[in-house]
Amino acid sequence: MNLGQWAKDLAMGVRFAFAGGREGWVRALLTAVGVGLGVALLLLTTAIPNALAVRHDREAARTDITYGDTTLKKGDDTLVVADAGTSFRDQDVRGRALEPEGPRAPLPPGVRELPAVGEMVVSPALKRLLESDDGKLLRERLPDRIVGTIGEEGLIGSTELAFYRGGEGLAPKVDDGPVTRIDRFGDPNPTSSERMDPILLLLILVVFVVLLTPVAVFIAAAVRFGGERRDRRLAALRLVGSDGRMTRRVAAGEAMAGAALGLVFGTVFFLVGRQIAGSVEAFGYSVFPSYLNPSPLLALLVAVAVPAAAVLVTQFALRGVVIEPLGVVRTAKPSRRRLWWRLLMPLAGLAMLYTMVGQGRDGGEFNQYLVIGGVMLLLVGVTALLPWIVEAVVARLGSGGVAWQLAVRRLQLSSGTAARMVNGIAVAVAGAIALQMLFSGVAGDYTESTGQDVSRVQMQVHVPQGVPLDSVKEKLAGTKGVDRVFGYSEGYVGDRAHEADHFTQVTVGDCASLREVASLPSCREGDAFVATGGEYDEDGAQLAKPGRTVYFDPSSEYEKTTPVAWTVPQNLKEAPSVKDPTGFKRGGLLLTPSALSERAAQAVAGEVYLRLDESVPDVREYVRNTAARIDPFADPMVWTSTERSDQFTAIRTGLFIGATCVLVLIGASLLVSQLEQLRERKKLLSSLVAFGTRRSTLSLSVLWQTAIPIGLGLLLASVGGMALGAVLLRMTDTPVQVDWASVLSMTGVGAAVVLAVTLLSLPPLLRLMRPDGLRTE
């Protein structure tokens, strides 16, 4: 066979892909949309590493406060930067106060001119927020005149809230906490990228495999759209004299054309999606469209692999079909589905993963290829097992109503089609269940309990230096929504002024406040106590001896300070410690303010703890506004019971975004094939309606027809997912525990997709059941 003939056959296939009038176009369009959605998701996936890298680079490029200990000298090219960040509801607002010290002071990325005092430049998202009614409370805190917006290169996400405001008198505070002097923006010690924790790496690998496998399954299903019509068309070709090989090549050409159009669609979808991605914030993350650039090599791979896969799937589908000139003959008995190799795949996958059991701890390394291979084999094994199970189960399904009978008989006749339809969902659900198990299993390691008792205190405000504690307490107590205010000045004393060996805590407050941390026998202004029974307080009893001299802020080799000597008063009383508002039993010295010398009072810093009335909406914003009035750099802390590791949150976020996309995608494909199937049965449906079949009966049969294979698919997905989850947990050396809530919720989501698809296919079904379908003329 020469090359010319090949080309001609392929070209003929390409023509067929779009020929055939309206119906032909619709079919080609469906295939292309299906493949296109898959391609778009693939491109998005290939773009994610790039997006993460760009984000990382941008973050590094605007780094200013590094908490480093080398202090620059003031110059004409220096800038003093102070962290003025705040929070609004659940969102973080990145904020900096900038005070240039000379004409050559550096500009932060994305800012054209440094804002003067009383002015600020803001991110577009913050600008929108401040200008909206929603942002009124925040505007109170950030009253400066908005003189410009921060450009894209200065932000790490399209919805990031950020501002730079002009600062004043910042120089004396340099290197006192979050105030620093810089001569350029950018991380002075750039890290190429953090070396990833092996377990996190495992999670990321699995997330990618779990998301991409359904996409592959989906593409395979999409190129089979309209398969029966294609077979008939090929039969017509045989009639006019093509041989079997030629028809196969024509079919390949058709598949390729659909896939190629799908690539075009996919590129368009991706570009559109990229634009949309810029305006979407999911789980606190947002990106700029320009971040999402697929790496060229991966994009090329997609461009080659998708059409190739389409051709392969088509040839595979034609395997059991003999196309005769007068019609299509399916090989008499479709070879019975064999179990052994279907079972072998997931077992092999499990075996591959099993070799790595227990390597996730203590710097162990996972073999990436084994992980990917194992997870893929297991998931693909699910798709291989599903048709067998569907066939075996529906063959045994017994009697029921008419709707049930219609559905079961149809499934018995073409269980493969049904199984293919739900394969994508099964894989996605299995993968998601495994991941959820893995997440909840290892979550303990990455979620630190802060030990804070949120029922007693919900916010904490740091009293800035030089501001009296009482005035802060007063102002906060007068703030809307604040129930109670506890305030202490806190500090540490050491046994020596330099290189102290023993330390203990000092808590200063009025009698009422001190009663919150210890049960005082009696208390008058000027009293001093030593707390007994405090946690983590080994040296308290030793240092808190009447008449002993102790030192506030002892200096060390690393930190030069000005220690303040102070003598423990003679009338020191003992007081047993109780849980303070933070849920912690304090030790050390408990002092009323006048027990402290004036100099020593300078060495303690005030902390105010607030109990809030949660029924007041936005109560935290009122507190923040008050705090900002006291000190523009104050950022009151909101207490939560746990804090998650940021990296961990990012992966979870990725999974949620991805799983949502995949499920929507699969839902769309289910709907498309459902509609195609219905259209092919238009005449039959009309005649059934003619002899009086209730519409509800037919609707119900459509539901059963989807629900039975989906039910089986979800069951298998749960089993497979739990097996995979268990192995992954063993790999990370975490006790295996089934997270039933996530199993239920994931199968629930899968079922919801089915229900949605059925509901969406009902209107066309009802339309097809109209008697017009009987008209032949």
């Binding site: 008419v402 219609l406 008989r409 005649s687 003619a690 009086g692 009987l774």
Partner: protein, 229 residues
Amino acid sequence: MTAPPGSLLAAEELRKAYGPTVALDGAEFSIHPGEVVAVMGPSGSGKSTLLHCLAGIVPPDSGSITYNGRELATMNDAQRSALRRSEFGFVFQFGQLVPELTCVENVALPLRLNGVSRKEAEKAALSWMERLEVDDLRKKRPGEVSGGQGQRVAVARALVTNPRVLFADEPTGALDSLNGERVMELLTDAARSTNAAVVLVTHEARVAAYSDREIVVRDGKSRDMERVV
């Protein structure tokens, strides 16, 4: 003109248009119990539409259809569906057997839609299949039987509920003469034995010859030939 006395199903002044296409333009019809009436006419003349209107599948734009003294227009869709299920039977040219169900299940289907138990329905179905000489096909699926056999299965299905009116739209359209004749013989015999009326839409004279009388539909208007002659 009012419905002739004693008629089971009668229609007057039927009008029906599909968009700009006028399918029926003042058609009349009536049939008595046990009567076989052929509806003839060139293709596109509106004979299928007449059948669909008479059977309550398609509501006419105007005109009246009375079945057993009841005006179809006063019934809602569910009532008309129930009427079709229990009182009418249908045979079409093709595309009517559910390909997934076996032949006996197909025949039993209308009974099951009426709530008859599966066992009883299939028993009744089998006896009708015997009468139509296709009982040996009970386990086969429609894809595995010939056109003539399939059509006989369809006739058995149409008769299994003992309908008062059997609607047949080109029932032999896809069959050769011999099979077509056999189907017509069995269909009319069965209908006569149960005193069912048969509305037979056909463009073939030899099929129409199995009828007692014929009406001709031309350009949406009907002519009752018996009254003319």
